[in-house]
Amino acid sequence: MPDLDLDTKVKLAIYEITAETGRIPNASTVSDKIDISEAEVISAFGRLHTKRLLLPEPGDPTRIRMAPPFSGVATKFPVEANGKQYYAPCVWDAYGIAAALHSDAISRAIDAHTGEPLTLEVKNGAPILKSYVAHFAVPAAHWWDDLVFT
């Protein structure tokens, strides 16, 4: 990737590794993949956070909590796609993983109030629609105030 700026190289490495493995990489793994220092990767994580493309793990800048639509930790929105399991931070991002990977996907989620299993499915580039609804508790102007809650 000789013609790309550092932040773009880091961004692409994060998403390529995540797509391939189902897990968001840490700074060391990204450093190994694109052959730059871990310190440079951590600096890039910070700049990508400013651009709202990722959320570092609170208290640990070497790790990523979210690189939307992917979550770095297990959530109530697991997504199966391409024979791998991913985790989405929220219901929007559960669909987002299918959109980002351009693949069929199934998310075995739950009703947030009752715990009833609710399955979201994307097949051949379109969702299998049901009457379920998503509730957005936080207005758009404040989504990044506390992204984990949002």
């Binding site: 987002g96 959109a99 989620a109 969702p127 629609l129 957005f136 207005p139 758009a140 102007a141």
Partner: protein, 76 residues
């Protein structure tokens, strides 16, 4: 952004958590949002939509008003 079987369980959840009831989004709308936001996320040119682009995207699927405006100061 949570998933519910129906508007009824949304209302029950909001009451249980003392959280104001806010807009509901259908799965069809949610899928359109996912495509707008993430279809090119694994590519070189990917970026988060700017504020005015976000407003346009939301409006294109019927989500309008200050709740969907990232520049709105109504919700401080």
């Amino acid at each position: 952004m949570l998933l519910f079987r129906s508007e009824e369980t949304v209302n029950d959840w909001c009451a249980a958590h003392k959280i104001p009831r806010r807009p509901l989004v259908s799965l069809e709308q949610l899928w359109q949002l996912a495509v707008h936001w993430y279809a090119n996320r694994l590519t070189v040119e990917s970026r988060r939509p700017a504020g005015d682009e976000m407003v346009s995207i939301f409006a294109s699927i019927g989500l309008t008003g200050p709740f969907w405006d990232p520049q709105s100061d109504q919700w401080k």
